[in-house]
């Protein structure tokens, strides 16, 4: 398979674009792999890619129940940022942002990463204090952050509601200029193609229905396409982690909840950045096709159904209208939902499990997309070396038993703790 370049683009352009080879193979599963990754979303594919590219482990399969990127990788609002405050999170998400900055070159695939900046709008003096503290922690860790007052926010984002009776008054904002967004499908396809080029088998329409054990150790998986044995098995099935890990006997501090996302009809350029609003939990950006892409909070009750309820649709649209009054006549094009692993402290899990041969990546709550590169990088390191990378050392399963929860929100043990 050829590298993508200006030259190949020109060559295929001149020949009517009929000569492009497929981007990855569609192999039959082999009976044995060194590592099997369950879950062909962004995280699973990234893990397979880094296992091969960073650790020289090429005999790897990624098993996907549906199609690549058909789960949460294809359902998110594509925001990338690293404005985390708690030790354990801060360095991990900054590693991810640094990987994002080189990702298109690294994968030889344009993931359309756009560092258009991200604003956290504050609606009260207390929120300004909290964001000032967050910004200081970020800067102390070498991460860019700027605090803007109301006048500066109004100059930069004139379309917010600054009227005296605004439902959510604007006091200022914390801004991260290196944040932004990326094209979610391109991330999946870029990792898939790059992993395939490294010899990784991407096996779709292959659901894991059980684990093969040798004594206590897990030595493979039973699938709808037959048994596949493996030296090590890694799970990257966020949304369904409790279900799949449950087949291996693991009980987890996770609940599954639906998170909805929305896109409007295409508009002319309006929002050239990413804006998050703290009080009503609302975030918005504009896609390259012109649609306003936005979302809110989870539906708040356990569900594995990949669809959301109408009360949250109403809440999110009311928030949109309250913060940006000019969207009131914009028509909604689509609304959808993904199902999230909500952990009891709002932070993820990337770890070797107590079961020999089984490795776990999950618990991504609201924030899996931005983590994709670092998640794959750190999970590959954990699987290859049996030790966590420095940046995922805190994302253990036993942190809950030991009192080392990583609570960004400080809300106590609750599946909406982020």
């Amino acid at each position: 398979m050829s590298r993508y370049s200006a030259f190949t683009l020109l060559k295929h352009g001149l020949s009517g674009n009929r000569g492009w080879p497929r981007a990855w193979r569609d192999p039959e599963p082999k009976p044995h792999y060194d590592v099997v990754i369950v879950g062909g979303g962004g995280h699973g594919l990234a893990t397979a890619y880094y296992l091969a590219a960073e650790h020289g482990i090429h005999n790897v399969a990624v098993l996907e129940r549906g199609w690549l990127g058909g789960g949460n990788a294809g359902r998110n609002t594509t925001i990338v940022r690293s404005n985390y405050m708690m030790p354990g999170n801060t360095g991990f998400y900054e590693l991810s942002l640094k990987l994002w900055e080189e990702l298109s070159r690294d994968l030889n695939y344009n993931v359309m990463f756009s560092q258009r900046g991200q604003y956290n709008i504050c609606h009260s003096p207390a929120q300004m204090d909290a964001q000032r503290r967050r910004g200081n922690v970020m800067r102390a860790n070498g991460i860019d952050a700027e605090l803007f007052d109301r006048a500066e926010v109004q100059r930069r984002l004139p379309y917010l509601d600054y009227s005296p009776h605004a439902r959510f008054p604007v006091h200022g904002a914390l801004f991260q200029g290196r944040a932004g967004n990326a094209r979610h499908d391109a991330v999946v396809w870029g990792y898939a193609r790059a992993a395939d080029r490294q010899g990784v088998d991407l096996i779709q329409q292959c659901e894991v229905v059980g684990f093969i054990r040798d004594g206590e150790r897990i030595v493979g998986v039973e699938t709808t396409r037959g048994p596949i044995r493996a030296g090590k098995v890694g799970l990257a099935v966020a949304g369904h982690t409790s279900h799949v890990a449950g087949m291996a006997g693991l009980r987890l501090p996770i609940e599954t909840h639906a998170l909805q996302a929305f896109v409007s009809e295409p508009l002319k350029p309006m929002i050239d950045t990413v804006i998050s609003f703290a009080t009503a939990h609302f975030y918005i950006s504009q896609s390259d096709k012109g649609g306003l892409v936005f979302g809110g909070a989870i539906d708040m009750y356990n569900t594995y159904a990949q669809r959301g309820g109408l009360p949250v649709v109403e809440d999110v649209l009311a928030a949109a209208k309250a913060m940006i009054p000019s969207v009131s006549r914009v028509r909604l094009l689509r609304q959808w939902a993904g199902v999230m692993d909500m952990t009891m402290d709002g932070s993820p899990i990337i770890t070797k499990t107590p079961i020999d041969g089984l490795y776990l990546n999950g618990g991504w709550c609201y924030g899996g997309f931005k983590a994709t590169p670092a998640s794959g990088f750190c999970f590959a390191h954990t699987i290859a070396t049996d030790r966590p990378h420095r940046e995922n050392a805190a994302f253990t399963l036993d942190r809950f038993a030991k009192g080392y929860q990583i609570e960004e929100r400080g809300a106590g043990p609750h599946p909406n703790a982020q």
Partner: protein, 88 residues
């Protein structure tokens, strides 16, 4: 929109309720000294794909806490009882 058959008020929209939590979790005896028992009660959830028992608080109705049986795949709602009638 979920519709919940409140045993006091009858069939009502979910917007009258607030979802509380998994109703299958049992708080340990206050004298329990094994930290793993507390850990499991505070953090670990069965998170079933299928039938789920859960507390909903009818804040805009009778203000009772009810235990609802709901399927997490289909959102089909089964029995709904007042929490005080459900034995621990």
């Amino acid at each position: 929109m979920l519709r919940i058959p409140c045993p006091v008020c009858g069939l009502r929209d979910e917007t009258e309720f607030v979802y509380r939590e998994d109703a299958s979790v049992r708080r340990p005896d206050p004298g329990e000294t094994d930290p793993t028992v507390w850990h499991d009660a505070v953090f670990i959830r069965e998170n079933p794909r299928g039938k789920h028992l859960e507390y909903w608080h009818h804040v805009h109705g009778c203000r009772e806490v009810v235990v609802v049986e709901r399927n997490t795949l289909t959102h089909e709602i089964g029995r709904c009882r007042q929490a005080r009638e459900v034995q621990g």
